[in-house]
């Protein structure tokens, strides 16, 4: 069993950790002090780059490299947007950070802003997290009062303003350019890229967009160094990951483990194995959009590159465990319904494709499946993938294709029972 280092979650047991006094008692804002007094912005950026901190929102892009795309010497304002939209089904990790340790995130935000020379930051938090947004706003107010936000932070001459901004229920706003549109007060329709947000982002200005968990790692990298951070994970994927396990396991919950921990180990050891001795059927390893794995495919390491090599993706580290008693058609219905509902409607392949897939799957579930439905689903999904402005199209298509291909026999057995089967 992998020894579980606690980094992000180390202090979660502390009852009043969300209050600044408790955070300061435990060494909070020391990394910020170190950076502002001992390090140049470039040094902070370089340390994060060396730490191979891969984005925790889903795409796995190295955060330090992303920061490096912001143009130097521009006279436009630069913005930092924190993606706390957390809408990928199965995902709840950022909620834990926001709820238990909001100051860790704020410290990470100030460090990132310092590293890139940003003076205005927004946390875009999903609308349903109303109570958590209030807690975060309280933490922001405390940080302003103690001089960790606002003018001349810690007397070091660095300024940063931070605004907590609530979304209003739209999965698409977790996509970075939709998030920017939403923050500007518009429908969450993703933008055509390029130009990328690093050049033309919020209010047409250079913008960094990072996930909550990603930024929450930055204080540790600054405090303990890139070499230490790499030791906690893998050479190309530093640090730990917050895995959120849900579904048919004995102990659903949040598990902080090194990047590269095996999926089997996470399920059988950390999450307590299958619930009520049920038999494992399949696992969705990285949130709903990640291609499903069969029970015989879970000997895979959970880091960005290993799981991609196994034909799926690490995504947001949200592991959904499915037992033998659950018909695969049921899983497919939930996936089809979700993406048909959440497609923003801007790109035709996604708008029509997701709703056609949903209708076909519902017909199959109602006993009206016909020969060729499974191939039609694969064809429809194939016509969405790669043909949309944003990754929601791929996210909608990939799980459908994977289920149709890996569970064709079971799906076709459903059709054979249907009244219209010839």
């Amino acid at each position: 069993m992998t020894k579980a280092p606690k980094i992000l979650t180390e202090l979660f047991w502390l009852e009043h950790l969300h209050r600044i006094e408790a955070y300061l008692d435990r060494g909070g804002y020391q990394a910020l002090k170190k950076a502002l007094t001992e390090m140049k912005p470039e040094q902070v950026q370089e340390e994060v780059k060396k730490a191979n901190l891969r984005g925790r929102g889903g795409a796995g892009f190295p955060a330090g490299v992303k920061w490096g795309f912001i143009p130097k010497g521009t006279d436009k304002p630069k913005y930092l947007c924190v993606n706390a939209d957390e809408g990928e089904p199965g995902t709840f990790k950022d909620r834990y950070i926001l709820n238990h340790n909001p100051h860790l995130l704020i410290e990470g935000i100030v460090l990132a802003a310092y590293a890139v020379g940003i003076h205005s930051a927004y946390v875009y938090i999903r609308g349903e997290y109303e109570m958590i947004a209030r807690r975060l706003e309280q933490a922001v107010a405390e940080a302003y009062a103690k001089g960790y936000l606002g003018r001349n932070i810690l007397g070091a001459g660095f300024d940063l303003d931070l605004v907590v901004h609530r979304g209003a229920g739209a999965y698409i706003c977790g996509e970075e350019t939709a998030l920017l549109e939403s923050l500007e007060g518009k429908r969450g329709n993703p933008r055509l890229k390029p130009p990328f947000p690093a050049l033309v982002g919020l209010f047409q200005c250079p913008t960094v967009i990072n996930n909550v968990e990603t930024l929450s790692n930055v204080p540790f990298i600054v405090q303990k160094g890139a070499a230490w951070f790499l030791e906690q994970g893998l050479p190309k994927d530093g640090g730990t990951r917050l895995f959120g396990v849900s579904g048919a396991v004995a102990k659903p919950g949040l598990y902080e483990l090194p990047a590269g921990t095996s999926l089997r180990e996470i399920i059988t050891t950390h999450a307590g194995g299958m619930k009520d001795g049920k038999k494992l059927k399949a696992v969705i390893p990285g949130g709903m959009s990640s291609p499903i794995l069969r029970a015989d495919e879970i000997d895979v390491r959970m880091d960005v590159d290993s799981i991609a090599a196994a034909g799926s993706m690490l995504g947001s580290g949200a592991i959904i465990v499915i037992d033998e008693g659950t018909p695969i058609l049921h899983v497919l219905r939930k996936i089809a319904k979700f993406y048909a509902h959440e497609s923003c409607g801007q790109c035709t392949p996604c708008r029509l494709g997701t709703s056609w897939i949903h209708k076909i799957v519902e017909r199959m579930a109602a006993g009206g499946g016909t020969r060729g439905d499974v191939d039609t689903l694969i064809r429809l999904a194939g016509n969405i993938k790669g043909r949309t402005l944003c990754p929601l199209g791929d996210a909608a298509a990939m799980p459908v294709t994977a289920i149709a291909q890996k569970f064709r026999t079971e799906l076709e057995a459903t059709l054979e029972r249907s009244p219209v089967w010839p």
Partner: protein
């Protein structure tokens, strides 16, 4: 006739707008504010918000109809939003919906005759480790079964 937005509400809207380099950016927070105050967003509210932020009314309508949390009609005193996504469903979430429909005598999307409860099915709420879960107004409830849910509803009565 009293104005659509009270002076106090208008002041709060202006304060929110001042937090952004462009007033329109405050639209989502402003709509949350108005909806929390009034229960839902009427066409008059949309018009008044548009005027206050200096944008076209259609820009407000676009946003109100795009985001699922914005409502154009009233809901009950207690708005119950049940997750109908996968992790909750694996833990019995669909059964919770059936239980609520039977107990309240309404279907998903309906409001009880006394205006007390509105029942809505929603996508993932981000509390999958506590599946099945739901929200009542802004509060989360997790690890639910029919009996536990009944106790919560009785507490609201």
């Amino acid at each position: 006739m009293s104005p659509v937005l009270s002076a106090a509400l208008a002041k709060k809207i202006d304060d929110l707008a001042a937090r952004y380099p462009a007033k329109q950016a405050a639209l989502l927070p402003v709509l949350h504010l108005v909806q929390n105050e009034k229960g839902f967003l009427s066409a008059e509210d949309e018009q008044a918000v548009a005027e206050r932020l200096g944008i076209l009314p259609v820009k407000v309508r676009e946003v109100v109809t795009f985001y699922t949390m914005f409502r154009r009609s009233p809901v009950g005193t207690y708005h119950i939003q049940v997750c109908t996504n996968l992790s909750c469903s694996l833990a019995g979430g669909d059964g919770l919906v059936e239980h609520l429909e039977a107990r309240l005598g309404i279907s998903l999307g309906g409001t009880t005759a006394d205006g007390k409860f509105t029942l809505t099915g929603v996508e993932c709420l981000g509390a999958c480790e506590q599946a099945p879960c739901l929200m009542i107004n802004f509060d989360y409830y997790g690890n639910l079964d029919a009996a536990g849910l009944d106790r919560i509803l009785e507490g609201l009565a």
